[in-house]
Amino acid sequence: MTRYIVQRLLLLPFLMLVYSFVIFAIMQAPPGDFLTTYVATLQASGTSISAETVEMLRHQYGLDQPFIVQYLYWLHGLLSGNLGLSLEYHRPNAELIGEQLGLTIALAVMAFVLTWVIAIPAGIYSATHQRSPLDHLLTVINYVGVATPNFMLALILMWVAFAYFGLSITGLFSQEYADAPWSLARVGDLLAHIWLPALVLGIAGTARLTRIMRANLLDELNKPYVVTARAKGLREWRLVLRYPVRLALNPLISTIGWYLPQLFSGSLIVATVMNLPNIGPLLLRALINQDMYLAGAILLIYSFLTIVGTLLSDIALAMMDPRIRMGA
């Protein structure tokens, strides 16, 4: 087991190197560079910038260097722990990402908790009361939840809240708390706002999880040990929760690692639509404006978390299922 983990960990730097190259190459793929976009923005506001100034900036930012030189320069910075400078914000990327990190994680954890708190009981109910009216209703909701893109859901909820309740539900804070120092009142304000985005972000996951839970549990419920336990007079709810549910949860737990990258990036489109101050909109802006070092930094962290998340899932699975531990 240890060897397996060490093997996987040794692979990590190599994978990161490959990812960093791919990320950099993709960011360079669109036509133009940060300055082309910048000049276009200026043009749109009706002003010009002299060709000499553009060239000076291009030189200053190193955008006139060949691709490979730019990449090596970036890599050198990364290896010495420097995520670089955002061309648009004129601030270090690490600082920008750090600022958004707290709320990003809060939102993701909230979404994650909501998903599990709703999905597991719903799945259990659906399985134990198969084909009951409530099971059918939950099934319909689940299908709708899986099939509706969550940004669409966000737009609909925003419209409903505005049209019928006169509420503007964008953002995570009321205006008076947006830049206030942390206080109990501000936490309260955050809690009053965060549940809806968390619900929107979690709804597809909830629907999927409910279905999986239901299917897993249905498999278990018909097994002889359940029948035996029931024949021995064990109380129904105690029986279900203690044995089949625990087994049905196993496959779900092995996917927990996949949430790690999501914790970090959240949902890019939902966050943008609902105006949430997390890393999603930051990444989107960086990509649109070709602020490549910022976009690169975010994507790189994202890749790192994906690798680590997958690794954690694999380890969890290996611990639970000895058949996975090949070559161990």
Partner: protein, 639 residues
């Protein structure tokens, strides 16, 4: 120019008449929050904070009350001009109607009779927002250490350049007088000065020398600067200097504006607080601004911003409000507790088709585009009423890209509507007459080489619903037998293709008609980057005729007119401008569709309690609207 000079003299006179030297009869008043600070010994009394001759700002409705927060929204650091427009921190500024230029931080200006020498007078006793005196040295610092420093400014900007390429001479006559000497007459000097306010990430023409010297290589040892630059992740001291000199990137940087930043434009809420040293007062001697604070809330998405506007979350905002939301905004006026004003664009046309006169990827198409009758035929083939009704909500009027009727540069109604009548029969006849008589099975006209005549129309969804305009135009052009392919493109790609001379025709707006001789006017191919005329004209002119394509006669005449206007007085400028626009409308290098709509930042949402916001103003980027409405005199009524 005489008119402008007279206006300035009059304004100067007005200032002199209204204001009294400190310690005289006039009693100045200040915001209650500042009185507290004065009592606490944190601030000198208001008399000592104001210059000897303060700027007396006329109010729109009435003298206001102090207090309140002006809530606005912005779209992130790239939207820094949002701040620039609100504060309009310039020595001079455009008047609300945009017809005049008035002193703001400066006291006034004088020109020599030949317009070669300009003198700017400063206000004695004016102070930066940190209390340091504002003097001629702050302009000289900009001139010597920024403008003439090759590391910071590789090229001298056009407005302060002599025709031989050198910079005009700037000298300090005394602490409050600065003289600008050009080799040639510079009749447009003040128009340019009114825009040297640090817009678009440039340097303003007056900088807080006392603060910035510690970030400048001429005053601070190189290794110390390098250390500072490195600590902030910058590669060179020039990057460090730029960020320290830019108010919205650095709240410590003192400003002269009514409100100074206390957070950064990269923060979730970008906040400005009242500048206790602002030079302006109202007619009763109340120091301005009335409003305590301006708060820009960050929105990642324009739609979310518009929804918040409809909900009444902003106190005064036109930027990023989409014209298509006008009916909804109107409907929600009562429940949102706001009123909606419309400030139409300052002339021009809000969706135009720019032809690339130097298109050469397909010589047959290039030839057609260069045929005037072809362009005229395509212009009259367009049903502008339909565009107006379906895209512009019935607002505005059909017109070419010429100034508004109330502007002195207006060439006359017959030119504003030249080639804008919808006449499909005549368009067909004209296209037949230039030899496009054969058609294919679908009715598309065939060119001499047997290929169908096809125009590609490149569109960027930037300000307006231009993709919709493009679709309507495409339908009209196909009806006269010209195949039209609409390409909706991302902005950077569009500009890149334009630079590479690969666009045939594109849609943008014509918004520079009030300023055809300065800034980024779209009529002069020497301006870069340019979306009008053709990139190869520009290349020909910049390479001295070695590369590119020589401009045709009407374009050369336009360039002559621009050069003349820079050296003649106001009457001469008006004449030159009118001729320029007659040429422009007649040659249809650019097809104007509908203009004078509030498409560009012209739908204004104003809190019902906010007063002194004018109902009609000149609305344009060079005017820094709403900056030209004198935002410092806006105020909130108690109820």
């Amino acid at each position: 120019m005489t008119r402008l000079a007279t206006t300035l003299t009059l304004l100067l006179g007005a200032v002199l008449t209204f204001s009294q030297p400190a310690g005289g009869q006039t009693k100045y008043h200040e915001a209650p929050t500042l009185t507290e600070q004065v009592k606490g010994g944190k601030l000198p009394p208001v008399e000592q904070r104001l210059p000897e001759q303060p700027l007396v700002v006329p109010v729109v409705e009435k003298v206001g009350e102090y207090g309140g927060i002006w809530r606005r929204a912005f779209l992130g650091p790239a939207d820094a001009n949002n701040y620039v427009r609100v504060v309009y921190d310039g020595l001079f500024r455009f008047s609300p109607d945009g017809a005049d230029i008035e002193p703001k931080i400066a006291l006034g200006a004088k020109a020599s009779s030949d317009y070669k020498v300009w003198t700017i007078l400063l206000r004695k006793g004016a102070r930066w927002s940190d209390g340091a005196p504002f003097t001629a040295d702050d302009i000289l610092f900009w001139y010597k250490d920024v403008l003439l420093n090759k590391d910071l400014m590789p090229a001298v900007p056009g407005w302060i350049r002599n025709t031989d390429g050198t910079a005009a001479k700037v000298e300090k006559l005394d602490d409050y007088t600065v003289q600008f000497s050009y080799n040639e007459p510079a009749t447009l000097f003040l128009t340019a000065v009114a825009n040297q306010d640090g817009a678009d990430g440039s340097y303003a023409m007056f900088l807080p020398a006392h603060y910035l010297k510690k970030f400048h290589a001429a005053y601070t040892p190189k290794d110390e600067l390098d250390k500072q630059a490195q600590a902030a992740s910058f590669k060179t001291w020039t990057e460090l200097f730029l960020t320290r000199a830019t108010p919205y990137l650095n709240p410590e940087r003192p400003t002269m504006a009514a409100w100074s930043p206390v957070t950064r434009v990269s923060d979730q809420v970008f906040t400005l607080k009242r500048n206790p040293y602002f030079v302006g007062v109202d007619k009763d001697g109340n120091q301005l601004p009335y409003i305590d604070e301006v708060r820009f809330t960050y929105f990642a998405d324009q739609q979310a911003l518009n929804l918040a506007a409809i909900g009444g979350n902003f106190d005064m905002q036109a930027r990023h409000i989409q014209m298509t939301n006008y009916p909804v905004l109107k409907e929600q006026e009562k429940s949102g507790k706001y009123r909606v004003l419309t400030w139409p664009t300052f002339g021009g046309s809000d969706a135009v088709v720019n032809f690339n006169m130097t298109y050469n990827a397909d010589p047959e198409i290039g030839k057609l585009i260069n045929t005037k009758d072809f362009r005229v035929a395509l212009s009259i083939a367009i049903n502008r009423d339909e565009i107006k009704e379906s895209v512009f909500l019935g607002l505005g009027e059909a017109r070419q890209g010429v100034p508004a009727p109330w502007h002195p540069y207006f060439p006359g109604k017959e030119w504003a509507t030249k080639h804008t009548e919808f006449d499909r029969d005549r368009a067909n006849k004209m296209l037949d007459a230039i030899g496009l008589t054969k058609r294919d099975a679908q009715g598309i006209r065939l060119m001499a080489n047997g290929k169908p005549a096809t125009i590609e129309l490149s569109v960027v969804p930037a300000f307006g619903a231009w993709p919709d305009v493009a679709q309507l135009i495409a339908k009209d052009w196909e009806a006269v037998g010209i195949r039209t392919v609409v390409q909706i493109r991302e902005r950077a790609l569009h500009f890149k293709l334009n630079d590479a001379n690969e666009l045939m025709a594109s849609i943008w707006n014509e918004d520079t008609t009030a300023f055809p001789f300065t800034g980024n006017a779209k009529f002069d191919p020497r301006v870069t980057p340019i979306l009008t005329l053709g990139p190869l004209y520009t290349r020909w002119l910049l390479s001295g005729g070695k590369e590119g394509v020589e401009p045709i006669e009407p374009v050369k005449r336009i360039m002559q007119l621009v050069d003349t206007a820079r050296t003649v007085g106001r009457d001469g400028q008006i004449q030159a401008a009118q001729e320029l626009f007659r040429i422009w409308a007649d040659n249809v290098f650019e097809i104007g569709t509908v203009g004078l709509t509030p498409m560009v930042q012209g739908v204004v949402v104003v809190n019902s309690r906010l007063h002194n916001v004018p109902t009609t103003v000149g609305n344009d980027w060079p005017l820094r609207t709403p900056g030209n409405t004198r935002t410092e005199q806006y105020f909130f009524a108690a109820k």
